[in-house]
Amino acid sequence: MTEMAIRLQGVSKSFGEQKAVDGLDLHVPRGSIYGLLGPNGAGKTTAIRIMLDIIGPDCGEVELLGSPVDDAVRARVGYLPEERGLYQKMRVADQLAFLGVLKGMRRDAARREAERWLERMELIDRADDAVETLSKGMQQKVQFLSTVLHRPDLLILDEPFSGLDPLNVDLLKEIILERSREGATVLFSTHLIEDAERLCDRVCMIAGARKVLDGRVVEIKASAGRREVALGVDGDANFLRELPFVVRISDHGNYFEVRLADGADPQELLRAAVAAGVAVRHFALVEPSLREIFLDRAGRRSADSIGRRGSERAAHARLKASP
């Protein structure tokens, strides 16, 4: 079994009557890019704070990088909180160096790294300016830098892309992938499923304080039990209608969208086409998007609230009712 970068076991946390996290198990393998999905208020931020020992769980176990959270572990983690904040009066480079030292770096090394990153982020000419003189987006970038400055083995990012323009979102994604290639584990939360779908190899969906979905993205998609094939042929496509595992056909002339029965092998379709003597121009498996799977799992209303504000409570109610 792969070693886990994050392991939560039966973690629960309530604030008064409100259950923020309810019996959460989470296993994030080392080296993975892991998405924590769920609507606003689902308990993502609380789960993350518990991971980092910022708040203690009511019950359950937490391990990061193979041990309970202690100073040595903290030094190997980079954390971007949902609520961003930097010392406003402090100079940008000083601030980064300071945060680097708190993560166990030597001051001069932290300074060098800070300058290198600022260069890359095109913020080097602002290095000696007070943070408060920077635009909000720039401050976000500086804060993101502070989480990767010390080359952590584990990056925990709470809504890293919110409030950034597309260009900077791409820059962040690039850095996240780069860190991942260098062996770091990345966990990030988002309420935008599309972010996760493109970037993550594993996701966990929580809604209403509970986990509703967890696993490798490809496996989730495979086990979604829905297969669709896009098929382009030259010749007579009537053979399709005789195949027992074909559920539905959308006919566009030379182009077909074919829905297969649960558990059917798409390769069978290809073989049948070849056997029927038609020339296959185009053959593609169309995987359902995570959003569609979430729709199936959680019901349309709750899924609609993902990425949008409001109707969270209704969503929770639906999610709890669904199997």
Partner: protein
């Protein structure tokens, strides 16, 4: 020291020393201090010449006194004798005053000085300086009249009342020095500690709030432990205070050195040897010790108060009780400087909240027994450790708290379970 605590200390220190606030307060506070020490006296002494003279009508039932009063009253008063039958009750006096164009009337009773009194009715406000002049004028006039009545007409009253200056010198291990210098020193210690505790206490509160108001707190607690943050803040802010004091001592020291060196030749002519003047190292060491310990005690208390807050608006309320304690301490010091060995002074030296202000002042002007110092220091250290412990626990819970300010019971719960 732990590397993280050191980094936080360094940050708190540098970020504060670089501000304009530091520059202004470093050079502003001594000015305020000097102003507090000298301005009232200066204004009173200057104010006299600004007073316009008061024309006072005198009803002299004692006889002979009003003429003397005309001589003995210093400037500020113009005496105008009135008929002695004009009135001798307060009602009649008031009548006279209101009918005349006088500013005031004075009634000298027949048995004045033998149980009887002098009454002054005035239409205008009189300054304390003028009142004092009148008091002394009546005394001197009475002395003159009594002398004359015993046939000592020629005696010069001013000469008769003239006394000598009393020079008090305290002999101690550090040599003898005039009491006045040490009294001034005690006052400087008291004022500096008082102002520093007030200013730095509130600075600590603002430092504690900084993470919350700027939302850095979550990044901080994911990297360091709350107690590391707390200690870093205490050390950093305290170091700013010590830097300030250091600058003051340096500036004051060099001014004094240059001043004395310049006056050296003149002083030598008067037989004063500068080499005999010694800097009271021990005294300053004690004052510094008490200042540092007292700072940590108050820093802990202000920190505990500030840790539960989430915005600056609430800060004033929480800080006020502590500010009052410091003000009470200062009032105590003023009385201690008057009577350094009173029971009050001894008790105050043992109470940790007050001892950092009182003990250095007492050490400057009196002798403090060893047992008192030992007990006072022990209590101070114990209570500052206690305050830091409580502050640490409240800080641990409070550092992430937002919104409503907890009440006292909740705070106590934090301290117990924190």
């Amino acid at each position: 020291m732990n590397a993280k605590v050191w980094a936080i200390t360094r940050r708190e220190y540098l970020e504060r020393v670089r501000t304009r606030w530091f520059l202004i307060s470093t050079f502003g506070l001594p000015l305020v201090l000097v102003a507090l020490m000298f301005l009232p006296n200066y204004l009173i002494s200057r104010g006299g010449s600004g007073d316009s003279s008061i024309r006072v009508g005198v009803v002299d039932l004692r006889r002979g006194l009003s003429e003397e009063l005309g001589r003995t009253l210093e400037e500020g008063w113009i005496v105008q004798p009135l008929e002695s039958s004009a009135g001798n009750t307060e009602g009649e006096l008031r009548e006279i005053l209101l009918r005349s164009d006088l500013d005031a009337v004075l009634l000298l009773s027949a048995d004045i000085g033998e149980g009887g009194e002098a009454r002054l009715l005035t239409r205008r406000a009189i300054s304390s300086r003028q009142e004092r002049a009148m008091r002394l004028g009546i005394r001197d006039a009475l002395v003159a009249v009594r002398l004359r009545e015993r046939g000592l007409e020629e005696v010069n009253t001013a000469w008769l009342l003239r006394s000598a200056d009393l020079q008090v010198t305290r002999i101690s291990a550090e040599g003898e020095q005039s009491r006045e210098i040490f009294q001034a020193l005690a006052m400087v210690f008291a004022l500096v500690t008082y102002m520093m505790f007030l200013v730095y206490g509130q600075l600590i509160v603002r430092a504690v709030l900084e993470e919350k108001t700027s939302y850095v707190v979550e990044v901080m607690v994911s990297s360091v432990r709350p107690w590391e943050m707390m200690l870093g803040k205490m050390f950093g802010v305290g170091a700013v205070g010590l830097t300030q004091i250091g600058i003051w001592v340096l500036v004051a020291g060099s001014l004094a050195t240059f001043g004395l060196a310049g006056a050296g030749a003149a002083l030598a002519e008067q037989g004063i040897d500068l080499s005999e003047l010694r800097f009271p190292v021990g005294l300053f060491a004690w004052a510094l010790t008490y200042f540092v310990l007292g700072y940590f005690l108050y820093a802990g208390l202000f920190l505990a108060a500030g840790a539960s807050l989430s915005n600056e608006q609430d800060a004033q309320q929480v800080v006020t009780p502590l500010v009052l304690v410091i003000v009470v301490g200062f009032v105590l010091v003023i009385s201690v400087i008057e009577t350094p060995d009173s029971p009050w002074a001894v008790v105050g030296s043992l109470i940790p909240l007050f001892s950092p202000m009182i003990v250095p002042a007492r050490l400057a002007i009196s002798h403090v027994p060893f047992w008192e110092l030992a007990v006072s220091l022990t209590l101070l250290v114990l209570s500052l450790l206690g305050a830091a412990w409580v502050a640490g626990r409240i800080y641990r819970v409070g550092v992430l708290m937002r919104g409503k300010r907890p009440n006292l019971t909740e705070l106590l719960r934090w301290a117990r379970h924190g």
